[in-house]
């Protein structure tokens, strides 16, 4: 039975995922249920005072925002790649301008130090 390539891909994903879950759950775990100390997260001998889940500060937030804009750019580039050869030099020029404009954005981000964050 043919379900088309996308249907097949979906079946493959589900089958792989189920196989992985089965491999995770199947091995014998014939030990006793874990005690409280056995469940303490590893800190090299220390005991955590608080939950690790917290307002985790990502220092690369500016880069993350930059990524959002760049991600949009990809949407334009895929269809462009398909028709590029047919459209010819015009398409190349358009893309060059598009790319240059975006590189300006990276340049600005770099100059502003948005890509590095520590200390």
């Amino acid at each position: 039975m043919s379900v088309g390539p996308f249907g097949t891909a979906l079946v493959v994903v589900l089958a792989t995922g189920i196989a992985v879950l089965a491999t995770r759950w199947l091995p014998r775990a014939d030990g006793p249920p874990p005690t409280a100390p056995e469940r303490i997260p590893f800190l090299g001998g220390g005991v955590p005072e608080v939950h690790a889940w917290s307002r985790f500060h990502i220092r690369y937030y500016a880069m993350a925002l930059l990524f959002l804009a760049f991600d949009m750019e990809m949407v334009f580039m895929y269809p462009w790649a398909v028709v590029f050869a047919a459209e010819g030099a015009i398409a190349l020029m358009e893309m060059l301008m598009f790319i240059t404009i975006l590189l300006l954005g990276i340049l600005y981000a770099w100059r502003e130090g948005a890509l590095s964050w520590a200390s």
Binding site: T35, G45, H57, S119
Partner: protein, 463 residues
């Protein structure tokens, strides 16, 4: 025994090492044992190997790490220093007895270790019962409006732990900061190092040093710090210059091997550790070639450049600047006790100096010193150094009544680590080459910046 079990019992044994007093050298040997793999977390380990003597301060962390091994699990004790398992004078056996079913084998005995592991998988050894009592602290079950210990939005102790509290952040925000105690058994830090720190995201805020777990070891240091032994001996008895210099090169190469492992280069580290193990003055060309290769290694340079800068201004308040040692020399301070040592007079000795004082400079400094040491050993022939002047140890000068290098260097940590990303902090600590046992030898190290140790020598003697 099923096929699966049979296959499993032939796997490389995942071992989590616990370095007790005097155990650092044997821990290094463990890394090189065939059929054994040192793992980064007890969750991956099947065998806990306690090397050397447990101290009271190490006991609780060891018990916890034991319980964090998933099981089936076994515990081995490797005595070092040729002492009997039970010398009947102190609490070693008492401390070890807190761990379930400890097997004692000879240090470095791969066959014994594998036998215990095979027995464990075949079911001939018990599964490894937990060492700590199954007590949840604090009580949370049935507490609060939802019965999980929490209350309101951020209140209570949901599932046994409170929420982190907020602290000012350099980006101008108020964000959560996790108060953590890392160590003394954190594999990426030197054995025994305990850091109390706040972690905001992946950045460290505020570091204080915890108690040195090796300090509670009773009596005079019976073992002495790893690798420093020939240097300590040289303070009081005549030694050949060649032996001292080969020991120095070996020390630096072992440090290099451990550091490479931390940077994700386990295999390259093993090669260097193996070279260090059988080192002699004739290995000079190999070490010089190594120094050249590492000097060209862009990846390693990128991982260490600009990390943990300890320049002269940072070193000065701690007196390290005037004391010398590789850390100071990597910051451009050309001080070396060998300069004024008559034993080195005819050897054309000039201290090696690097600039910048970052982790990269310290790495290059040590590798260059290792190559230089072997060259000196070659030139020195049978020359004997007589005791008297301070000995230039691998971490700095050693002289009776003088602060041990590690006990000064360790006080750099609070300054250097504050504000660092966690990975950079690990790089920085590694680049200082700290030995907590060496720091413990020093009586002046009693002045820890933190609360004093609760355990006195007397209380440690009673199990």
């Amino acid at each position: 025994m099923g096929l699966l079990t049979s296959a499993a019992s032939r796997a490389e044994v995942p071992v989590f090492p616990v370095v007790g007093a005097g155990g650092r050298e044997a821990a290094e040997a463990l890394w090189l044992l065939p059929g054994v793999r040192m793992v980064d977390t007890p969750r991956a380990a099947a065998v806990l190997v306690v090397i050397g003597r447990l101290t009271r301060a190490l006991l609780q962390p060891v018990l916890l790490v034991h319980d964090q091994m998933p099981g089936p699990r076994a515990t081995l004790w490797w005595p070092v220093d040729g002492r009997p398992a039970d010398d009947g004078t102190d609490g070693d056996e008492g401390l070890l007895a807190a761990l379930p079913d400890v097997v004692t084998t000879t240090a470095g005995d791969a066959a014994g270790l594998r036998a215990v592991f095979a027995d464990l998988l075949a079911g001939r050894r018990p599964w490894g019962p937990p060492a700590l009592a199954d007590i949840e602290s604090p009580r949370w079950r049935g507490v609060g409006p939802y019965g999980h210990g929490g209350e309101g939005m951020m209140g209570g102790v949901p599932y046994g732990r409170p929420f982190a509290e907020m602290a000012q952040d350099p980006d101008g925000l108020m964000l959560d900061q996790l108060p953590l105690q890392i160590g003394p058994l954190f594999p990426a830090l030197p054995p025994g190092l305990v850091l109390h720190l706040g972690l905001q995201g992946d950045v460290i805020r505020g570091v204080t040093l915890g108690d040195n777990p090796y300090r509670s070891w009773p009596g005079d240091p019976p073992v002495g710090p790893l690798d420093s032994v020939p240097f300590l001996d040289a303070r009081t008895s005549p030694t050949t210059v060649a032996a001292l210099e080969v020991a120095r090169a070996r020390h630096h190469l072992r440090w290099l091997a451990r550091t490479l492992r931390l940077h994700g280069l386990d295999a390259r580290g093993r090669r260097i550790a193996a070279l260090a193990g059988g080192l002699s003055a004739t290995d000079r060309p190999a070490v010089e070639a190594l120094a050249r290769r590492l000097g060209r290694d862009r990846g390693l340079a990128g991982a260490t450049a600009g990390v943990g800068v300890a320049d002269q201004a940072t070193l000065e308040p701690l007196g390290i600047e005037l004391a010398g040692g590789p850390v100071a020399r990597a910051a451009g301070v050309a001080i070396d006790a060998r300069t004024d040592d008559p034993a080195y007079a005819g050897l054309d000795f000039e201290p090696v100096v690097h600039h910048g004082g970052d982790a990269r400079a310290r790495l290059r400094q040590r590798v260059a010193e290792a190559a230089q040491a072997l060259a000196l050993a070659e030139r020195a022939g049978d020359a004997v150094r007589s005791p008297g002047p301070p000995v230039e140890g691998p971490r700095g000068p050693l002289a009776p009544g003088r602060t041990m290098p590690s006990s000064s260097l360790i006080h750099l940590l609070p300054t250097l680590l504050d504000g660092q990303e966690w990975g950079d902090a690990v790089t920085t600590v590694a680049s200082l080459d700290l030995d907590l046992e060496e720091a413990a030898v020093d009586q002046s190290a009693t002045a820890w910046p933190q609360t004093p140790t609760g355990t006195s020598t007397a209380s440690t003697r009673t199990p």
